[in-house]
């Protein structure tokens, strides 16, 4: 007998991982959460049937969503993380001793609880003294903040279900307001490849572009995400991700990373023509 987890990337394309055993399956007020033990990818977190992370390749996503903004502004002290219940983003941030405060807003407490229990690889730093976890809607949280954060990271699920409001213009606008003068917004920006993901990507970009003076995207290769080609958004009130890169300063920190480095930083903003086209028409 074989047990497989399959995610539909489109109606006609699937991605499957052979599963050793199912560790847990629970339904929260918001969504269904499953965690599998797999042969090739370690533990796999799945929400409402969609793959969120695997232990094998989560480092790519979590390094790219954190070190890119941190290398542009090493002065970042106050960070808001929206979503990110698995803890991977917070884990990377806590490696910076200069960060003083990390507020994490996750709507679904059960995601955090299950990741703490089953996936310590990502959740291990959620108990860091600098981390404050708020279990509420990200939009509600951010709309009550003004001129407070140096960095906001939107580590959300997809633009449907409980994370839907994190892809709206009112959310990005309220993030702008919650950021300080040198503030940076980095967000999970979907994929340009399959048409449905690409539409979500375009919509997010056009909304962010209408609010932030600097709005760019950068890419990473994440093998277990649909098409493997994934984008992040970098938006700011003025800082440019390449011109303002503090290369030496970041390298002097001596952080050991598996995917990110400052050469890759400069390269990841170079994007394929078809993606440029999509962004231009967004």
């Amino acid at each position: 007998m074989e047990l497989w987890y399959t995610e539909k990337h489109t109606e006609n394309a699937e991605f499957s991982i052979k599963v050793k055993k199912q560790l847990v399956s629970k339904k929260s007020e918001f969504q269904r959460i499953d965690i599998f033990e797999s042969y090739d990818f370690g533990k796999v977190l799945v929400i409402d049937g969609y793959l969120m992370l695997t232990e094998k390749d989560e480092f790519i996503y979590h390094e790219m969503i954190t070190h890119v903004p941190m290398a542009v502004n090493p002065e970042i002290k106050d960070v808001l993380v929206v979503g990110a219940g698995d803890g991977g983003t917070v884990r990377e941030l806590t490696r910076y001793e200069t960060i003083e405060n990390i507020d994490m807003v996750e709507i679904d407490r059960l995601v955090v609880d299950l990741c703490r229990e089953y996936i310590p690889q990502t959740s291990s730093k959620l108990d860091d003294d600098r981390v404050n976890i708020y279990y509420e809607d990200g939009l509600k949280f951010v709309r009550e903040k003004e001129n407070k954060y140096d960095l906001i990271i939107v580590d959300s699920t997809d633009p449907f279900g409980p994370g839907e409001d994190l892809f709206t213009k009112e959310f990005y606008g309220n993030c702008y307001k919650a950021l300080k003068e040198n503030g940076i917004l980095v967000n999970q920006h979907e994929s340009p490849y399959y048409p449905n993901d690409a539409v979500a990507m375009q919509r997010a970009h056009s909304k962010i572009k209408s609010i932030f003076p600097v709005a760019l995207v950068y890419q990473a290769h994440i093998p277990t995400y649909p098409s493997g080609h994934w984008l992040f958004g970098f938006a700011s009130k003025g800082l440019d991700p390449i011109a303002d890169l503090k290369e030496e300063e970041w390298n002097s920190l001596g952080l050991k990373t598996k995917y990110y480095n400052t050469d890759l930083h400069k390269g990841c903003f170079a994007i394929p023509n078809y993606v440029k086209e999509l962004l231009k028409n967004a």
Binding site: R143, K169, E170, G173
Partner: protein, 481 residues
């Protein structure tokens, strides 16, 4: 009666399962004849889009399942009898007026009624005696009717046949219905209530009194608005003083003989749901609305009003499920906020007038939608707000009635540019839609204030309609003036 039953829905389900061969209309034959439509709406839907037949009763002469469904609804709403309506609450309002009045009969009504009421006067020739509604200057909205004004109208027109009350208004304002019923009944007048926005009064807790409970004789209730049935479905409720067989005849004068079973079944199931779960449904609605109201009032610049505006007269009560938001202090007309919400944030609210927007909140909403609305309003204030001086916020102008609506509508008319029509008598309607309350009705004098209002409303982007001229640049005025 057993409110768990839904006789009309049950009969339709049985009909579907019986796999009847159809050599009757509709010609799409369960959807097979129109594949694209079937794909769009779903086969289930097309299979029950049927015509009346013995096993499914007939809306114009109900004796079996439609009658049972209407009786259940009458019980649920506390009425003596009930009619399912398939041409909107418009048809229910018209049936009320045409039941109460013949040509030449007087009917007392507030001027801020929905166009459907004045339309009925054009059709049946009844004569309106307008009671000017109270006005809230701060909000720029018309209110309910004050008791003193009604008493005066009744004293001056003891021969009037009925009083029509608009309760609640679109904005949630209620009049003192019980007192109005007392006055009317003392003078042998019927009380007709346009209760289009008040379905929930019959099922929720701690809401304003419903028309039937207050002793009104007839009420037109848009179940589709806040009760969960399909758009265009509505009910007409009758009390003890009304001959319901006569009402049925009146309805049949203008009602289709091919009533949609989709609409009828939706009324049946909505009634069942409201009867069984209404308290919880409207508890949740109130909770969401109250939360939204308090958050919006914290933003500053917006005023989401509530029971604090009650004055025990023209605002006798307030419907707290209504989320009406005054936008004057951010320097934007309600219609401008309405447009920005839709175009920039993908949020559709019910309407925007010169000073307010109205958001309909229901148990179908989630906390997330409320957060989106509140956040978008904050953003609009942050990005678009202007100096509010010089804003025109009034949405109601007292009319000068010269002819009855019917006389004016059927008179010899000529078209004039609106800006040159001052002092003429209008032969047609001009209204903003929504809310559909006429700025001008046939037979009313076109004043300078009205001409300016129309110009200003158009400039702000309010959708005007009612005139023969689709662009509302010209207006038909009564000739010989």
């Amino acid at each position: 009666m057993d409110q768990n039953r839904a006789p009309l829905y049950e009969a339709l389900e049985k009909h579907r399962l019986d796999r009847v061969v159809h050599f009757d209309v509709p010609g799409h034959k369960g959807g097979r004849g129109n594949k694209e439509l079937t794909q769009f709406l779903g086969e289930r839907c097309l299979k029950v889009d049927v015509n009346s037949m013995k096993s499914l009763d007939n809306l114009n002469h109900p004796v079996s399942v439609i009658k049972e469904a209407q009786d259940l609804a009458a019980e649920a709403f506390g009425a003596k009898s009930c009619f399912f309506m398939v041409n909107g609450t418009t048809s229910a309002v018209q049936a009320m007026i045409m039941t109460a009045c013949k040509a030449g009969d007087k009917i007392i009504m507030p001027r801020n009624v929905h166009r459907s009421a004045i339309n009925a006067l054009v059709i049946c020739g009844a004569i309106p005696v307008y009671v000017n509604p109270g006005i809230n200057k701060r909000l720029g909205i018309a209110l309910g009717m004050s008791i003193a004004d009604i008493e005066k109208a009744v004293r001056e027109n003891p021969d009037a046949k009925a009083i029509l009350v608009n309760n609640p208004t679109y904005y949630g304002i209620c009049s003192d219905l019980k007192r109005i019923v007392e006055i009317a009944h003392k003078h042998n007048m019927l009380v007709l209530v346009d209760e289009a926005h008040g379905t929930h009064f019959y099922f929720g807790e701690n809401l304003p009194i419903s028309a039937m409970k207050a002793g009104a004789d007839m009420a037109a209730v848009s179940v589709h608005k806040t009760g969960g049935s399909l758009t265009q479905s509505s009910i007409l409720l009758c009390g003890e003083n009304v001959n319901s067989d006569y009402v049925r005849q009146i309805i049949s004068l203008t009602q289709t003989t091919s009533a949609s079973y989709l609409l009828l079944a939706s009324l049946d199931l909505a009634r069942k749901n409201l009867s069984l779960n209404g308290i919880e449904i409207f508890r949740k609605t109130v909770e969401l609305t109250e939360y939204a109201r308090s958050e919006i009032n914290k933003l500053g610049g917006y005023y989401a009003f509530s029971t604090e505006i009650i004055d025990n007269d023209a605002i006798y009560d307030f419907d707290i499920t209504k989320l009406s938001i005054n936008t004057r202090d951010i320097g934007l007309a309600g219609i401008e906020v309405y447009d920005i919400l839709r175009e920039e944030y993908g949020i559709q609210v019910e309407f925007g007038d010169l000073g307010n927007i109205l958001a309909i909140v229901s148990a179908g909403d989630r906390a997330m939608e409320i957060e989106r609305l509140v956040s978008a309003l904050y953003e609009i204030k942050r990005i678009y707000s202007k100096d509010p001086t010089g804003m025109y916020v009034h949405n109601y102008i007292e009319p000068e009635v010269v002819y009855t609506p019917q006389e004016a509508f059927y008179s010899r008319k000529k078209a004039l540019p609106i800006k040159e029509s001052q002092e003429m008598i209008s032969g047609e309607f001009v209204m903003a839609y929504p809310p559909g309350i006429p700025i001008l009705a046939p037979g009313e004098r076109i004043t300078e204030e009205i001409v300016n209002y129309i110009h200003y409303a158009k400039e702000k982007g309010i959708l005007l309609m009612g005139t023969e001229d689709m662009n509302v640049d010209n207006i038909n005025v009564v000739e010989g003036e």
